[in-house]
Amino acid sequence: MSANEFERARSFGRYIGMTLWEVDDGSGSPVIEGFAPVRDAVRGPGGGMATGALLTLADGLGGLCGGLAVLPRWVVSTNLMLRVARLDHVGPIRGRARVLRRGRNGVVTQIELRDDGNADALVGEAVLTSAALDPPEGMPMPPRPVDIDPGPLPEIEGTLRDALGIHEVDPPDGYDAAVRMEVTHEVRNPWGIVHGGATAMVIEAAVAVATPGAVVTDTVLHFLQPGRAGPMEARVRSIDRRYGSVGLYDTGAGGRRTAAAVTTTAG
């Protein structure tokens, strides 16, 4: 299996055109660099790449970096935190992930995102915490050094949110807004689990419904349990206009909660 086949098989990141490669900085720890174009389909209300897409890029960079750091084990994302520095981007967005801490049972990576088309202006910083686990049987291991291009970008009419079929639904009592996303092959990873990037996008979409006109800037995203069946439903409770408390539920799996997020909005 080539590096490209490995990454294309496991990554929702192809939807944002995420290109990744491994860098040897002499530290002995893996460093992953990459980029994604800012095409219209992923632009948010701030004019640049939407925060859900930035989270997808950060998850891809940090997840691959963390996975390589714990080989022959692999990782599952447990917590992704993003602080956005600016919302207007020219693109492409360039990223770099490095290991902050590698422990027995997990790894913490830091991801820096910069705007390649705007003199490398800082776009945001993220920290991804991942748990180390024994990879499922049959999981392909990446050839080293990793060097991955996403292949042709999927054709998208409208926005990526539209392409994923994310749509508003009536929120249950106690919530301010809700959206749903069907779980299709395109949003699952090879183990049948809804990808972290798709999780981030459906959460951002729910907050956009709850606070029209506002832009999600900072996000804390806890991955609680795998989402598999679907539809996935993101429900928002707004805490003032500044914060949103979001739960993601797998309605096809007894309504169990698969992710919890706190978002900060501006505007």
Binding site: T78, N79, M81, R83, V84, A85, R86, L100, R101, G103, N105, G106, V108, Q110, L122, G124, E125, V127, T129, A131, D218, V220, H222, L224, Q225, I239, D240, R242, Y243, S245, R257, A260, V262, T264
Partner: protein, 278 residues
């Protein structure tokens, strides 16, 4: 309901951050918990918003008290803490209501809602992640009866800050525009493992970000939003910050704060980002 007397505790010592905050907690058999700290000017910003460090300590203490019984006979290590405060004058106290969002084999995730007392108005949100670890020999013996409601306070008669909490901690701003702040490590801020209390890192990160962002934003700011990742224990000290401004405007800003233990070869203990508002 049973109430633990402070003298039954070997930890914390007589003068301690948790005692001076006059923290009180109630743990219930259903796994939910509530904790309070009274609001006084010593634990508030000049505009009256609850201090980021005080509320971080409240959340950290509440979280520890909830996560330990969820993993017994194992033990926990705090992995991360996030806090999202609404700015504005506080009420008489801040109440934190916690629930376990996930208790798995390797991690426990908690969610905490914050309210003003007595208005019950929302004050914010917090989350915490704990790694489940094998219980070390030196870990404190866990004596709380989880089958009954337990209410406890760490305050002693006379507990409370005499000056602002940051003075009580010994926080010193070394270089405000660069966000360099130092915290000496003493018994006052140590936890039961003789490492710096998780909440104290919130105070350090908040003070460093406020100092740097006041310069960058051009107006006084107060820290309201914290993403904190614990990497290593702080044991020797002083802790020292390096701060990088991520964004700034006249109304708000955000900064990254790295906290190292200068007495341990600048060991990187904590990675934080903090958002402040004018």
């Amino acid at each position: 309901m049973s109430e633990s007397e402070p003298e039954n505790w070997g930890y914390p010592p007589e003068r301690h951050l948790l005692r001076d905050l006059r923290l009180e907690a109630e743990h219930r058999p259903d796994g939910t918990s509530t904790a309070w700290i009274p609001m006084t000017p010593e634990v508030q910003t000049p505009k009256g918003t609850p201090s980021l460090g005080a509320v971080t300590t409240l959340v950290d203490a509440l979280g520890g008290g909830m996560a330990i019984p969820a993993v017994l006979p194992n033990w926990i290590a705090t992995a991360d803490l996030t806090l999202h405060l609404l700015p504005g004058p506080a009420g008489e106290a801040v109440e934190a209501r916690g629930q376990v969002a996930r208790a798995g084999r390797t991690t426990v995730v908690l969610e905490v809602e914050l309210f003003d007392v007595p208005s019950d108005a929302p004050r914010g949100l917090a989350t915490m992640t704990f790694s489940v670890i094998e219980r070390a020999v030196e870990a404190p013996v866990w004596e709380r009866d989880t089958s009954t409601v337990t209410r406890m306070t760490m305050a002693l008669p006379g507990s409370g800050f005499e000056g602002h909490m940051h003075e009580g901690l010994g926080l010193e701003v070394i270089d405000a525009p660069r966000g360099v702040v130092e915290l000496p490590i003493g018994d006052f801020v140590l936890n039961s493992f003789r490492a710096v209390q998780g909440g104290a890192f919130g105070a350090v990160a908040g003070a460093a970000a406020e100092a740097a962002l006041m310069e960058a934003c051009g107006v006084p700011v107060e820290a309201v939003d914290l993403h904190l990742t614990y990497l290593e224990l702080g044991r020797i000290g002083p802790l020292r910050t390096a701060t990088t401004v991520l964004r700034s405007s006249p109304s708000e800003g955000a900064a990254r704060v790295e906290i190292v233990d200068t007495g341990a070869d600048d060991l990187l203990t904590t990675w934080a980002t903090v958002a402040c508002v004018a």
